[in-house]
């Protein structure tokens, strides 16, 4: 994985840039000494590290705007960062780039229950939004596993998901408005408290754009009334295929559960050792199905789901009797990553999405690859929406293991794409999957995407080196060859 080569002209200007920052930023908002820069040398993808040239931590939108304008004028690269929990290296610093940390934007601006929305600064954590409204019976639906730490700004940048996406959608389906500062320093508001922004859907475009189009300075999210009741079924299956069949049959019965999570045997035994959630140890696959809604509805559905599970060969069926038991069922799944962390010095979490019916064949192939590479793999799967998280176990202290893990991971993602799926379901492309984009897209597809980048950032200064495998100048991308004087197409039907 290569980052764009450092530009000498930028590095030569480092001190001048830092002085300019200090003219309008408080002392504590500019970090330029190596020990403190070290804290920012990676995000959640810790395999890749790079010291930034300088870190700035603005406190106001005006400061963000001024930072970007200055960098734009001095032709300096900027890498935005939220809490740094991202798993694809989207906030990996550049040696000749300013790291723009949004951590100080940590205030909730407005809670508007009548219009069912919350306005928050981007550095507010995902969970803090729910905490701010839960006493009033509301919550914010997307719930990535890192929700204690990850910020809403980062969630927007990566279009984060969670375990409730099938019913409640991803970040993009749950935000109403954004305030964004462009690389030019100009500020633009997209959407607001109303539904459906006007004009081109820049709100939708910005969501999941991985910090390449603008810096988010405010987010308006939709909040939902908390369901009266949630219950979960814990289902054990003798093989992955019958668990997959159970998921398909639930959906075919017209049921859209709030969550459906599948774990393979390796994940089940790892979590049992870690937090004893009481998962059936003889099962090859464990499925958690959560239903939420009104009491009558949930009770009826959980019975129906249990019947479907038995019909598809479940060897154990338990349903939560109370809230404590429901949370216990989830405790294993929610702790799957730390549990796997105990099995091995390092692990790498992959994030492909596949059409759900491909699960058995994809898992069989992953198992074959696991043997080929000599690396163990543990699978957790958002079964409702086809989002697969294979965790590859490795030891970075052993020679070649990082390279082998990367190659194994790349093979898994190629497999997902070949099965009709995509490279990333909720973690983003970042640097991690950047060089695999060609597996999913043609050059024309990728060039069209990069022209969209040019519409926002024609000098390519905002987070370069992420998402796209090849960097093109906007002038090059804008060229078009038109063959004039050609007569049209006698075969074309005209009416």
């Amino acid at each position: 994985m290569d980052l764009p080569p450092p530009e000498k002209e930028i590095l030569d200007n480092r001190l001048r840039l830092i002085r300019a920052f200090k003219e309008f930023l408080p002392e504590s908002s500019v970090i330029a000494d190596e020990p403190r820069l070290r804290a920012y040398d990676c995000d959640g993808l810790t395999a890749y590290r790079q010291l930034p040239m300088v870190v700035v931590l603005p406190e106001t939108v005006a400061q963000v705007s001024r930072i970007l304008r200055l960098c734009h004028e001095m032709n300096v690269k900027v890498v935005p960062r939220g809490a740094g929990t991202g798993l694809s290296g989207g906030a990996l610093p550049l040696p000749d780039g300013v790291l723009l940390g949004m951590a100080k934007f940590n205030q909730i601006v407005d809670i508007d229950l009548d219009n069912r929305c919350v306005v928050a600064q981007p550095g507010v954590t995902n969970l803090a939004i729910t905490e701010a409204v839960e006493k009033d019976g509301f919550y914010y639906a997307p719930d990535p596993s890192s929700q204690i730490a990850c910020t809403i700004g980062g969630n927007v940048a990566e279009n984060s998901g969670g375990v409730h996406c099938l019913k409640y959608g991803l970040t993009t389906n749950n935000i109403l408005g954004l305030e964004v500062v462009l690389m030019s320093g100009e500020t633009v508001r997209l959407g607001g408290k109303h539904l459906d922004a006007d004009g081109y859907d820049l709100l939708g475009l910005m969501t999941g754009s991985e910090g390449l189009l603008g810096v988010i300075t405010e987010v308006t999210v939709r909040i939902l009334p908390k369901p009266t009741l949630a219950r979960a079924a814990l289902l054990g299956f003798p093989d992955i295929a019958s668990a997959g069949q159970c998921v398909a049959d639930i959906i075919s019965a017209g049921i859209i559960p709030a969550g459906m999570e599948l774990m393979d045997k390796a994940a089940v035994s790892a979590t049992e050792a870690f937090c004893q959630p009481g998962y059936p140890q003889d099962a090859e696959a464990v499925l958690i199905v959560e239903l939420d809604g009104t009491e009558t509805e949930v009770d009826a559905l959980i019975k129906q789901v249990s019947d479907i599970a038995r019909a598809t060969g479940a060897t154990s069926v338990r349903t939560s009797a109370d809230e404590d038991e429901r949370l216990l069922f989830w405790a294993g799944r929610k702790n799957a990553f730390p549990a796997v962390g105990r099995l091995s010095p390092d692990y790498m979490c992959m994030d492909g999405t596949i059409p759900r019916h491909q699960l058995p064949s994809v898992l069989t192939e992953i198992e074959r690859l696991s043997q080929k590479y000599g690396l163990r793999v543990v699978n957790v799967f958002h079964a409702g929406d086809g989002n697969l998280h294979p965790l590859i176990l490795f030891d970075s202290n052993k020679p070649d293991q990082i390279e082998k893990t990367e190659a194994f991971g790349a093979d898994i993602l190629k497999l997902c794409v070949a099965a009709g799926g995509v490279l990333s379901g909720e973690h983003g492309i970042g640097v991690e999957k950047r060089d695999l984009m060609g597996e999913m897209f043609t050059d024309i597809d990728l060039e069209q995407q990069q022209r969209v980048k040019c519409a926002f950032d024609p000098q390519g200064r905002l987070n370069p080196g992420k998402v796209f495998p090849k960097l093109h100048s906007c002038a090059e991308l804008g060229k078009m060859h038109v063959h004039h004087g050609k007569m049209p197409f006698p075969n074309l039907p005209r009416f």
Partner: protein, 411 residues
């Protein structure tokens, strides 16, 4: 005017290639069911996509459907209904507003990003669009998104294409998320709650955990315009709250919603005279909500029609400021339909000022061409947004050959 009806992708590329080489402007259409929507545009030729039709993939168990852009919505509806599924965003049929009998195509629906009453619960069309294939104004076929629900692989161009009115690309194939259709539909119809009381009822319903899938209010003048005799005869404003779901639990939810309504001072007596509460069955519910989503109340009149999206609590101030001849709201007050005289500037300044104060946007959905020529049909953009819009147009269609001007001048 030349009408090209390409039936293969090669033929489509030929048309776009010709337009590029000869500097011709193209107007893109499916069934042309929404001809009066948007700014009037000058074009040298029409690209008729109705020849590129057909469902190419439907997997009910995976909740996805893929179809060519020219596929009639009617065909998609039938296929989904037969399998007990639906497009959850409740696509409106606006053909009647523009004097068309046709129900439109999937491509036309995506290009306009139209969603009906269920949008408050289920999301908009753009939330259900998983993948697009299109031909840009550079005559290049490109794709974005995919066939899976969760996808962060590159920019979300499906969102950008939804609601771009054909100004960025000619849609060729689309993949959408589909959902199970509800077994039962019930509507709580509350007569006689007006003004703030109606707003409070809708807000309380949406704040409840009862999963209300529609919340609308029709003042008396609009109720009289319903084509349903059992509705139009009611000499009162009506507040409508819809529940959809499983047969086993809908009764309990209706009861809970009635209790909630009673807590707001509405007497739960059956409809008679000036007030009362009625529970509408499946059939009447379906027809009435169809009217709400399709703006049927105003279809036969010659009113100019504004569509305002705003935060729901601004409903009464906007309605009061504009003083329209008729109006109603959907989306719990967040979507306001205003019918005004089709004269002058159709009250554009009044509407836009009211909306600008509240936040949101107003679109002139229907008006005579002369009015749409002089009034901004879509909400005017500020300078930064307008520049971004122009840049994005340039990124997809640098010679401005595709539906140029349909949304904004020179875009």
């Amino acid at each position: 005017m030349d009408v090209f009806k390409p039936s293969t992708s090669d033929e489509l590329h030929d048309v776009v290639g010709w337009a590029l080489a000869e500097s011709k402007k193209l107007r893109i259409q499916g069934q042309n069911s929404k001809s009066g929507l948007g700014r009037p545009i000058e074009a040298d030729a029409i690209v008729d996509l109705s020849g590129q039709s057909g469902i190419t993939l439907y997997e009910p168990g995976e909740l996805i459907l893929r179809a060519k852009a020219g596929t009639p919505l009617q065909e998609i509806d039938k296929t989904l209904t037969d399998a007990g599924q639906q497009l959850a965003f409740e696509p409106p049929r606006w053909g009647a507003l523009y004097g068309s009998q046709d129900g439109g195509t999937l491509g036309g629906l995506v290009a306009t990003n139209l969603s009906g009453a269920r949008r408050v619960k289920a999301g908009a069309l753009r939330d259900h669009l998983l993948g697009v294939e299109a031909v840009s104004g550079r005559n290049e076929a490109f794709k974005s998104g995919g066939r899976v629900m969760k996808n962060v692989s590159g920019y979300d161009l499906p969102k950008l294409m939804a609601g771009s009115y054909g100004t960025l690309g000619i849609l060729t194939e689309l993949t959408v998320k589909v959902m199970p259709a509800a077994e039962k539909v019930r509507t709580l119809m509350i007569a006689g709650a007006s003004g703030r009381n109606a707003q409070a009822l809708m807000t309380a319903a949406m704040q409840s955990p009862l999963e209300v899938s529609g919340a609308a209010h029709l003042p008396k003048v609009t109720v009289a315009m319903s084509a349903l005799p059992e509705i139009s005869g009611i000499d009162q404003g009506l507040t409508l709250l819809r529940l959809e779901g499983y047969a086993t639990s809908i009764g309990a939810r209706v009861k809970a919603l009635q209790e909630l309504v009673a807590q707001h001072g509405v007497e739960l007596k059956p409809l008679s005279g000036h007030a009362g509460v009625t529970v509408l069955d499946d059939t009447t519910s379906l027809r009435l909500w169809r009217e709400v989503s399709d703006v049927s109340f105003f279809a036969k009149s010659d009113f100019a029609i504004w569509r305002v999206s705003t935060a729901p609590t601004h409903l009464s101030s906007i309605v009061a400021t504009v003083g329209a001849d008729a109006w109603y709201c959907d989306w719990a007050g967040g979507l306001i339909w205003l019918a005004v005289a089709p004269e002058g500037a159709a009250d554009a300044d009044l509407v836009r000022q009211a909306v600008n104060r509240a936040g949101g946007h107003a679109t002139l959905i229907r008006a005579p061409e002369a009015i749409r020529q002089k009034v901004s049909v879509f909400h005017p953009q500020n300078a930064v947004a307008a520049t971004l819009t122009q840049n994005i147009k340039n990124a997809f269609d640098p010679q401005k050959i595709l539906n140029c001007g349909r949304m904004y001048a020179d875009v």
